[in-house]
């Protein structure tokens, strides 16, 4: 039985089309439709109910060395109030989850994927060992909204005393929004400037209503999961279960920049170092359809009648206005301009390897 978020009644009132996503009933779209919602976020601003996302809090004198061991990224030089993307890997280099780590004055705060909350909590706790650190799953009491788009700052500034023009890309601050104590991160997963907000669950409708009202004159609209997917796809932001998983390592997925081999040992290091030295067996590339058709997750990539790879995400990309895919192919077929085929309903259709990202993020740095 899927769970309702605190904003379920709001989504129903807005005629959101509700689906079960990772055990949560969430709007896949509102009546305007996913393509218009996508454009709204690129051109104005969108508000996303993403309470399905989970959060962990790590504290204690050994919190830093513990996280250095569990995460692939080097967080030792992170400043207080900084946020950073990282992967959590298995010993074999496969991915447990991809996360955002926030360094706060008294703790590390980690945003994790909805489907991985229980797995991550167990994984982190299992690896505490002799480290003096605690891992707390605060997903239940923490609500999460994302406010994304070029108008996001103007909208949020109406509701918070925090100086948002000084809160730069991947910085976070603990302040108030509409009077509610909120962790404001200049983060997001759409390729646009914007914020992610963490605050007490019981304040969800208060913040949602406040932001919707403040944003209405600036073109703010609620955004569903379908547009969330196309928005993260164009700037090539990976989705767990598609571009990365227990059987896909970060180097294959082009996420080597989030793996630090220099910081000392971490879980998965030796396996990943081997991949780095030998070169990954497959590479994530961008594909553009030459022949018309919609590539979709799971479709085979073929060359000369032989299956050589698979689409991880594919769709009609609204801002690029093209039929595009991310796909794994052997390194020999990964060069820009290489022609392959996407197998759509049993028929190979021509596609070409193109540069990624499909959309250059519009972050304010």
């Amino acid at each position: 039985m899927a769970r309702k978020t605190e904003l379920y009644a709001r989504h129903i009132a807005l005629n959101g089309r509700m689906i079960d996503f990772a055990g949560w009933l969430l709007p896949v779209q509102y009546p305007t439709g996913p393509i218009e919602e996508h454009h709204t976020v690129r051109r104005a601003a969108g508000l996303f109910d993403i309470d399905h996302m989970g959060q962990l809090v790590v504290r204690g004198p050994d919190a830093l060395p513990f996280l250095q061991r569990v995460l692939t990224t080097d967080i030792s030089r992170m400043a207080t109030g900084e946020a950073r993307y990282s992967l959590v890997c298995y010993e074999d280099g496969g991915v447990v989850d991809d996360v955002f780590v926030y360094r706060l004055p008294d703790r590390y705060f980690i945003a994790i994927n909805a489907a991985n909350v229980d797995k991550d909590t167990s994984w982190f706790r299992y690896h505490i060992g002799r480290f003096q650190a605690t891992v707390e799953n605060v997903s239940e009491e923490t609500y999460m909204l994302a406010l994304q788009g070029p108008q996001a700052e103007a909208i949020l500034q109406k509701l918070t005393p925090a100086q948002l023009d000084k809160l730069t890309y991947h910085r976070a601050t603990e302040s108030k929004v509409a009077g509610v104590p909120t962790l404001i991160g200049r983060t997001g997963y759409t390729g646009e400037d914007g914020f992610e907000l963490f605050f007490p669950r019981e304040k969800a409708t208060l913040l949602w209503d406040g932001i919707m009202e403040a944003g209405a004159p600036l073109g703010l609209k609620p955004i569903g999961l379908a547009a969330r997917d196309s928005l993260r796809f164009e700037p090539k932001l990976p989705l767990y279960g598609q571009e990365i998983s227990a059987t896909i390592n970060p180097l294959e997925a082009g996420l080597g920049w989030a793996v630090s081999f220099e910081k000392g040992d971490f879980i998965g290091r030796s396996a990943l170092l081997k991949v780095k030295l030998e070169g990954p067996a497959r590479k994530l590339v961008g594909l553009e359809m030459v022949e018309r058709g919609v590539p979709r997750h799971g479709y085979a990539i073929a060359l000369d009648g032989r299956t050589i790879g698979e689409v991880t995400t594919g769709m009609y990309a609204p801002t690029a206005d093209k039929y595009l895919a991310l796909a794994f192919v052997p390194p020999a077929q990964a060069a820009i301009g290489t022609e392959v085929q996407v197998v759509i309903r049993g028929e190979g259709r021509r596609a070409r390897v193109v540069k990624t990202p499909f959309y250059t993020p519009a972050y304010r740095r």
């Binding site: 896949v28 439709g33 919609v294 979709r296 039929y323």
Partner: protein
């Protein structure tokens, strides 16, 4: 949900109407609304023959691909080329600019055996009630 009084309807949510010797067909307003934003339409070649209920094409929305079924048997005489660049016409004008195929029916009388607009509306509300 809009219906076109001049059309007949299938249980798979196609509309079809006779225009002289030829029939025109597409998907209904209910179907386009269920599918949501349509991003691609695949249509048959002119001259192809399809039996009643056979798959003649595919319509793809943001969410998924779904088949289009021939409302009655016939031979394709034209397809809506405009949908290649503007598949969203199926969303905005399903009974007009969003048409998909024109065809010569084997037996035009077969069309009269399909649901009329009122019966189709009743059929859709029975589906809605089942939710």
């Amino acid at each position: 949900m809009k219906v076109d009084k001049a059309s007949r309807y299938t249980r798979t949510h196609e509309w079809v109407r006779l225009e002289g010797e030829e029939a025109v067909s597409g998907i209904t307003d209910y179907a386009q609304e269920q599918l949501s934003d349509i991003v691609y339409v695949e249509l048959p070649a002119v001259g192809e023959h399809f039996g009643k209920g056979e798959v003649y094409g595919v319509v793809e929305s943001v969410k998924a691909a779904s088949d289009n079924y021939m409302p009655v048997a016939g031979t394709i005489t034209a397809v809506n080329e405009g949908l290649a660049d503007e598949p969203q016409l199926v969303n905005t004008d399903p009974y007009g600019a969003g048409w998909m195929i024109r065809f010569k029916p084997d037996d035009p009388a077969e069309i009269d055996q399909l649901m009329d607009a009122a019966s189709y509306e009743e059929f859709v509300s029975s589906l809605e009630g089942a939710h």
